[in-house]
Subunit: 198 residues, 2 copies
DNA sequence: TTGTGTATATTCACTGGTTAGTATACATAC
DNA sequence: GTATGTATACTAACCAGTGAATATACACAA
């Protein structure tokens, strides 16, 4: 089967994704990934230059799907922007209650590789979060909010904070608390939109 | 030197602390910790039952000092509670600009050990964050805020979010953004304190 | 149609290094 | 002479990456 190169590469990324997300980067060996993908380590090294490359590919494969889910949750919720953003947190809480949930793969990888600041996987994670931040910023700008970037960053901080806190305490209700804080901040910014006063 | 058992144990924890915080848990070997402490691995295993034990001791040693720093930053700042809390974030931003800063040791450990939910180190991390949350709750309760626990958790989410985001982007200004969000939320809660209306 | 060269894809078996934890013995202090 | 504390030397497993060989598909020539 020399020709169909893509399915093999895809299969390796799927295997790596499951293992790296569930057990962490350094805890998973290249042999384990290869075994899970149903091939040998040597074949894996034909498709990826190094383990670091594979880690980067694992995160790159999660970039678009993750963003798409957030947008979907936003779009499918009826109501104003505060409610639609809060819905993202509520849906996230629902995910986080599944026993296999283990936080945000991007953040956990950046925590585990904190001593390698230039690592390709960290750059991919940073770019991913920037994309989400920019989507929030554009959403708030369309609402006429005065400082949409500042608000976008505050919501992002609440979101990533809830990933960290829920992972530590294994208590998904923190995500709903974060969602309420996010709604408050957005509503406050909307009220101040036209310089209204009490 | 058989007698002075405490200094040896202390020295091991100091060495472990520096290495685990800077490089992560799984990246640091017990041999490295022993070497940094100036003794052999066998001696280390006389004082600690296992590497997991040592990791737990590393976090336990950071519990009280960390909380003390936050309280100090709060106490030494002039002004109301919103400003005093914001000062914590500003001081944290200052720390985070030092090149050796690598986020919150508790959160990074919980991210790295996410597949071992009952690990003693994770329990110590969770207890640490609960103590901070409770200190915030008591502080807000003393101000007569209606739901002090909810507000405490929102501030905690912003704090831990800023640890995660700043570690990923290496941009400490997110901490100041989080501080402004925290101040907004507290001020909003203070205004609503007596059920005031516009 | 058939033979053949070449790029693609895969495997087996290995290297050199690391790692958590231990068996045993030795030293010091009281 | 016994508790405590330290060191040497070891085990058994693991792990990232590689050398050398092999198998398949396809393009092109005879």
């Amino acid at each position: 089967m020399p020709r169909p190169s893509e399915p093999t590469r895809e299969r390796i990324i799927q295997a790596a994704s499951a293992l790296f997300y569930n057990e962490g980067i350094r805890r998973v060996s290249v042999d384990e990934v290869a075994a899970k993908a149903g091939l040998t380590k040597r074949t894996l090294y034909y498709h990826f230059r190094s383990k670091d490359d594979l880690v980067a590919a694992y995160l790159a494969a999660r970039d678009q799907p993750n963003l798409a889910v957030f947008r979907k949750w936003f779009d499918e919720t009826e109501g104003g922007v505060p409610v639609k953003i809060e819905a993202i947190f509520r849906n996230l809480a629902r995910s986080a209650r599944h026993p296999k949930w283990k936080g945000c793969g991007f953040l956990r990888t950046s925590a585990e590789l904190a001593n390698m600041p230039g690592h390709p996987a960290i750059r991919i994670g940073a770019a991913h979060k920037k994309k989400f931040e920019d989507w929030l910023r554009a959403t708030f700008a369309a609402e006429g909010i005065a400082d949409p970037l500042q608000l976008a960053r505050q919501i992002l901080l609440l979101l990533d904070g809830s990933f960290a806190v829920v992972l530590l305490h294994r208590d998904a209700s923190y995500m709903e608390t974060a969602g309420e804080a996010a709604r408050s901040l957005i509503e406050m910014a909307l009220v101040g939109r036209r310089g209204r006063r009490c």
